[in-house]
């Protein structure tokens, strides 16, 4: 006897559900790639830095995918250009999460762009890992469930490190500050004040300048007249060069400890030979062309001919390590769900990056993987960034 089911509404609904499931299933098939989003400045003034981040992620993905991927699935990079614009960065992040369905995002070259994305990442519960922007409040954002992590320098740690450097290496007692007039300069002004207060030191003044200022001699003369015996410099390449030129003109030979601004371009071409006197921090440097990661870079990107073509190496290394950490967390979580990945970020251990081996790099109190002990002081010598001997 043929089984004849009555055609009820319930059956119809069940059928429809089965159909939808049937269509949905292949999309979640085992070897479908897990998407990782990238939001960074890929055009405009910071394009070179965006390129460095892309290269770092690409190398890490090559490594991970050649070893079988994560959860048996390959990782795939989906990039969006934020043009250093916070509004565009936020739109790009939304698009990556809502339309592309990325499991996590890497990105944020400029602190303002990162700060615009942070609340969205926390709301959407999508991990967001910074390989560049150093603004302290990016990771210390006050959210109850913080989805923002960082593998890069942090302003407050940098300020501590450059203060320690001026004090121990040059015996500076009354340093002056020459800072770019923008939120980045402001963030470091706070950090430097804290570092000085901690040591009970006074400063010779806080001077600001604009990124298009030609002549910084008036500001520097004020610091000199106030008895500055060392300088803190926070600015990008071209404005930093204007500070060096102005120091040259004044004939003022003073130790300069700088944030990593000068590393982003042709600093010694712009600043002249005295640019070599500026000592700045880096999180990573290639010193040997035989470094395995550098050889991989050359293999993957044939346009890289020498070490001078990968300045700043910091961006490549930070992004490389950030990607490896993220992959380890997804593997550990056994899922591509944001909350699970976040929890796993606190549990990963023994991840071998290019900067160091990461053992429990993150805690809910400290979502920064790198600290002052990981910073290296460096300067330019004939156009190449080289580490300074202690």
């Amino acid at each position: 006897m043929p089984i004849c089911l009555p055609l009820t509404r319930r059956l119809l609904l069940a059928g429809a559900a089965a159909l939808t499931l049937g269509y949905a299933l292949p999309a979640a098939a085992q070897d479908d790639p897990i998407k990782i989003g990238l939001v960074a400045a890929l055009s405009g003034q910071s394009a070179k830095s965006g390129e460095a981040i892309t290269r770092g992620i690409t190398l890490a993905l090559d490594k991970i995918n050649s070893e079988g991927g994560v959860l048996g699935r390959p990782l795939e990079l989906v990039s969006r250009d934020d043009e250093s614009n916070p509004g565009k960065g936020l739109i790009a992040a939304r698009e990556l999460v809502q339309r592309e369905g990325v499991a996590a995002m890497i990105g944020g070259l400029d602190t303002p762009v990162s700060l615009a994305i942070v609340p969205f990442a926390n709301d959407a519960k999508v991990p967001f890992i910074g390989p560049w922007a150093a603004g302290t409040p990016i990771t210390k954002n006050g959210a109850e469930e913080n989805y923002v992590f960082r593998v890069s320098a942090v302003d407050e740690f940098v300020d501590e490190a450059i203060t320690e450097y001026l004090v121990t290496k040059y015996g500076s007692k009354k340093p002056g500050m020459i800072l770019i007039n923008n939120p980045w300069g402001e963030s470091n002004e706070k950090g430097l004040m804290i570092a000085l207060e901690k040591r009970g030191m006074e400063h010779a003044g806080i001077e600001k300048f604009e990124s298009n200022d030609v002549d910084v001699v008036p500001q520097l003369t004020r610091l000199k007249e106030n008895g500055a015996d060392g300088l803190f410099l926070v600015a990008n390449v071209a404005p930093s060069a204007q500070v060096v030129k102005s120091l040259d003109r004044m004939g003022w030979d003073v130790p300069v400890a700088s944030h990593w601004g000068p590393s982003g371009g042709r600093f010694t071409e712009l600043a002249g030979p005295s640019g070599e006197k500026v000592h700045f921090i880096q999180t990573f440097l290639f010193t040997d062309p035989a470094h395995p990661l550098f050889m991989k870079l050359q293999e993957r990107f044939p346009e890289i001919e020498s070490l001078a073509d990968v300045t700043p190496a910091t961006g490549i290394a930070n992004a490389y390590d950030a990607t490896l950490l993220l992959a380890a967390a997804i593997e550990k979580a056994g899922s591509t769900e944001g909350p699970a990945i976040r929890q796993a970020m606190y549990e990963i251990s023994g991840v071998e990056g290019v900067i160091k081996t990461y053992d429990m790099p993150f805690t809910p109190e400290d979502q920064d993987a790198l600290g002052p002990q990981d910073y290296i002081f460096a300067n330019f010598v004939e156009g190449e960034i080289v580490p300074l001997a202690d």
Partner: protein
């Protein structure tokens, strides 16, 4: 004492720059009551062409810099022909926005062709500084006021003493009558835009060795120079030049004595105050309105 001399040196060097660029506004305004708001981009174009012709094409400075200035002059003519004339002919004031847009267009074209990395234009005049009364001075910093004053004097002479200059003045006073007298007014207006852009280009070449060459290097100069041109009264070359020095000195003295956080607030507040008292600028005359 050191502070005073420092402020003086910085102020005169930058003031001369502002004056030189502002002269470009003054010239076209005198001839046809219009200005090229892309003047800041012309500063950048002069420096970028100077860099490309010397550093990339390897031409000697003596050949490269005049070529760079010719390039600027050509761009000035293009701006007038494409962005000012079509609107002016229809009695529209849209040339105002069109020249601003033209400047942005040029800046971004340079960004894509020249690149986004700031570059350095070398000059033997910034290799070493002279120490004078406790402060350093690059010879280049003295060259800028020398050129600027020279140009202002030459312009004054051109307008007063030469046939072409008088023809320009005739266009200023009454374009229709000038046309009837056989003066090619359209050529005169084109010429004034070419000259204006050339001055901006010269300023760019002069400042580049002290600064860096990049696509948005001229923007702030353009804005400050326009403020200077208004302050100087728009009508006399020497007035505009004086206003340039004044602006540069105020800027430098405020930065030196009160600190850089006060610079923009005070200089621009002072500018507004001066214009409130003297609406035609420090050295300008009220425009005559004949009925």
């Amino acid at each position: 004492m050191t502070l005073f001399v420092t402020a003086l040196v910085t102020g005169i060097g930058l003031g001369a720059m502002y004056g030189l660029i502002a002269l470009g506004f003054q010239i076209t305004y005198s001839v046809c009551s219009r200005v090229n708001f892309a003047q800041g981009s012309m500063v950048m174009l002069g420096a970028v062409l100077g860099f490309v012709l010397t550093e990339r094409a390897g031409l000697p400075v003596i050949l490269a810099y005049p070529l760079a200035l010719l390039g600027c002059a050509f761009m000035g003519v293009v701006v007038e022909f494409c962005l000012v004339r079509p609107f002016a002919a229809r009695g529209s004031e849209a040339w105002l926005m069109a020249t601003v847009a033209g400047g942005i267009l040029l800046d971004n074209t340079v960004l894509f062709t020249f690149g986004n990395e700031p570059r350095s234009l070398p000059s033997p005049l910034v290799e070493s500084s002279w120490q004078i009364l406790g402060t350093g001075v690059y010879p280049q910093q003295l060259l800028i006021p020398a050129v600027a004053i020279g140009v202002a004097v030459a312009l004054q002479l051109l307008f007063r003493r030469t046939r072409q200059g008088r023809a320009l003045l005739a266009v200023v006073q009454n374009p229709d009558a000038a046309r009837l007298m056989g003066i090619n007014t359209s050529l005169m207006i084109s010429g004034s835009f070419a000259l204006s852009a050339m001055l901006a280009g010269a300023a760019g070449l002069l400042i580049a060795p002290l600064f860096s060459v990049h696509s948005d290097m001229g923007t702030l100069f353009g804005i400050k120079a326009f403020a200077v041109a208004i302050l100087g009264g728009m009508t006399s070359a020497s007035g505009v030049m004086l206003a340039g020095f004044l602006y540069g000195l105020v800027e430098a003295f405020v930065t030196t004595y009160l600190g850089s956080s006060h610079t923009y607030i005070l200089t621009f507040a002072l500018l507004i105050a001066v214009l409130a008292v003297k609406p035609n600028g420090l050295f300008g005359k009220a425009a005559l309105r004949k009925v």
